[in-house]
């Protein structure tokens, strides 16, 4: 029996013994692996390896829906990659587990110094309690209204600049008998982030916290929420109350709705299904204040993990990925805002109307950024588990917009105060 066990153990260890990695092999986890992005990274890795023959990069694509769990397990088990793709929506969580290297010195002492969009650097820094830079930003995203320019032209409607114009246009473009609707509301998973972006773009409130208290429940924000809830079922499909982004994008690309609030991330889908002739992007409309207030989308970037045995090689790879050439190549392919400012003059940006528009919004001195407190450990549970069902109640007319925002603001204020105490 003992001999059998020894033999079994030998067989198992023989099966599982991975070859000893050379000192210059680094692993890179793509936080949104899939057929759209994997080939872009494969190309970039090929270029990197050609330029750095002593470093080999092992690519692992992680499905975005499970990436947080994968990172958590890897951190707990002490098997982190050398470089990982991260977004600011969960960066605080990784920093909180002491898993990442601060990158400030490396950025300041290398070719990236002064080359990264200050707005994006700021959103990354804000996620950490100590204000350090735990990821090199690679691309920014912006909430936009995708609209069917062909239908607007047909009906001779101008692209709306204010929320009231948008609501009017939505009513005009709605023909329930033909299953055509003017707008689609994200009422299900992920609804609150979009709703906050809408509310602040309308209200012009330019701070998320005022004297430690959340401004979410500002009556002007509530006004917008009531307006949106008011068009539910009138200018939108009834099923919207359960919409996550997948359903919205499917409705828009399937031709059922004429306008959709999402972000630049859906560029590829929208363009593939409808083409540049039929669809355009515009920034979120303004409200009566006339101010452009933007709740920035999570920023994508690359982090170096503390567990890395080759932190220098890992940083070299991050530096390569965020260099003007690679950053431009990557963002051109996915249609997002490049973090490297040298890419701004690239030819493709002039041709990509949506990215050009987004860059214009972010670089406009009149634009005020109102970053959401994604650094709060409870932010995700407050805005998802606690509040998404309440927004559905608002849509269904079972709760007032003000009451809903009061509850949300109360939780965000408490969480912020606790965070300040721990700081």
């Amino acid at each position: 029996m003992r001999r059998l066990l020894v033999a079994l153990a030998l067989v198992l260890s023989a099966c599982s013994a991975g070859g000893q990695d050379g000192p210059a092999t680094i692993t890179f986890w793509d936080n949104n692996g899939g057929p759209g992005r994997t080939p872009i990274y494969e190309e970039l890795i090929k270029r990197f390896e050609a330029a750095n023959p002593n470093i080999k990069v092992e690519y692992v694509g992680i499905p975005s829906s499970s990436v947080q769990q994968k990172y958590d397990t890897a951190i707990a088990g002490g098997s982190t990659p050398d470089v990982g793709g991260v977004t600011t929506s969960y960066l605080a969580h990784l920093v909180g587990q002491d898993a990442l290297e601060p990158l400030d010195e490396r950025v300041e002492s290398g070719p990236l110094k002064g080359k990264l969009l200050p707005g994006l650097l700021e959103t990354v820094r804000q996620t950490a309690m100590d204000g350090k830079l735990y990821a090199a930003p690679a691309s920014g995203n912006l909430d936009v209204i995708w609209y069917r320019s062909d239908l607007f032209a047909e009906q001779k409607i101008a692209a709306p600049e204010t929320w009231d114009q948008l609501i009017d246009a939505a009513a005009k473009l709605t023909k329930p008998a033909d299953n055509k609707y003017g707008f689609t509301i994200r009422g299900g998973a992920g609804s609150i982030f979009q709703l906050l972006a809408e509310a602040y773009s309308y209200s012009g409130v330019d701070k998320f916290y005022d004297g430690g208290k959340s401004t979410v429940a500002d009556p002007r924000n509530a006004e917008l929420v009531s307006k949106i809830a008011g068009i539910y079922k009138k200018s939108t499909p009834e099923a919207d109350v359960n919409n996550s982004y997948t359903q919205m994008v499917a409705q828009f690309t399937g031709g059922t709705v004429a306008m959709m609030h999402h972000n630049l991330g859906s560029t590829a889908d929208v363009m593939k299904a409808l083409g540049a002739q039929k669809v355009s992007a515009m920034p979120l409309p303004k409200g009566p204040s006339g101010k452009r207030t933007v709740v920035p989308n999570p920023t994508d970037g690359f982090a170096v993990f503390k567990g890395s045995k080759n932190p220098d090689a890992a940083w070299k790879f991050v530096e390569f990925l965020t260099s003007a050439e690679s950053n431009g190549y990557w963002n051109e392919k996915v249609g997002q805002i490049p973090a490297n400012t040298d890419v701004r003059s690239a030819e493709w940006i002039q041709k990509n109307a949506a990215v050009k528009m987004a860059l214009g919004v972010l670089e406009d001195p009149a634009t005020v950024l109102v970053p959401a407190p994604v650094y709060l450990p409870e932010y995700s549970s407050i805005t998802k588990t606690d509040t998404e069902p309440l927004y559905q109640k608002v849509l269904l007319g079972q709760m007032s917009a003000q009451e809903f925002l009061d509850q949300l603001a109360g939780k965000l204020t408490t969480a912020q105060q606790e965070w300040e105490k721990r700081k």
Partner: protein, 293 residues
Amino acid sequence: MTQTLTRPATVSPPPPAPPRRKKHRDPSRYFRLHLPLVLYLLFTLIPFYWMLVFAFRPTGETALVPWPITFEHFDTVWNGIGFGLFFQNSLIIGVGTLVVVTVFALMGGYALARFKFRGQRVFLLALLCTQFIPGAMMLIPLFVIFKSAGLLNSLTGLIIADTAFQLPLALILMSGFVRNVPVELEEAAMVDGCSRLRAFFAVTLPQLRPALVAVGSFAFIGAWNNFLFALMFASRQDKFTLPVGLSYALGEFNTDFGALAAGGVVAAVPVVLVFAVVQRFLVQGLSAGAVKG
């Protein structure tokens, strides 16, 4: 045995054939039986129809019948996502788990059914209790154990993890099946000179064929569908499995429904084939276990 002896020696005339059913059946039968069955069938098949429509329809089309059909989504999943390798990994893990689970369940199930030992009830209870623990809860402890055993990033490790989670239920099922085979048969064989092992192989094992199929197919499908372990215990692209590949179609900002559906077809075909081949045994096996298990 005694029944045979007490049977009358004379051959009695065959019993009268049951009266033939009238040709015009009771019409309410359609409402009671066929209508619910048809509705249930539709309910089951519509998701499959939907999957096929998305898999074979070009992106952006809305037709309910995918014509002309396209294979672009299959090209995306097979060549773009790399389903070929994932399929192979899933197959190795599925078959590996099937073999290990079936062999161990057979041995353990036999022991549970045929022998009495101290702590048997506690053991059975413990087996049942393991079913209450979700895989996600065991993730980090298992990860640490696998790491120290050098089993991360290996298909062997995944087979072991899947086996550990499939085995308790398989054992319980199998002991029910074994109990269903009359012990007298084995005893008769042993009276005729067989050892216990020989009696088991010659008499009991052939009776357990439906049980093997039922337990084996459950193990295979459980391992085939396992997403969590495959993603967490492997951190190399060439060790991922089909469910991980499928979730690649669900991106952060976009969902490729065509690829998702085509991937679903690829992932479902082996399972459907397995069921088509074994369903005869499966129904028999499950009902046999249900009576006494």
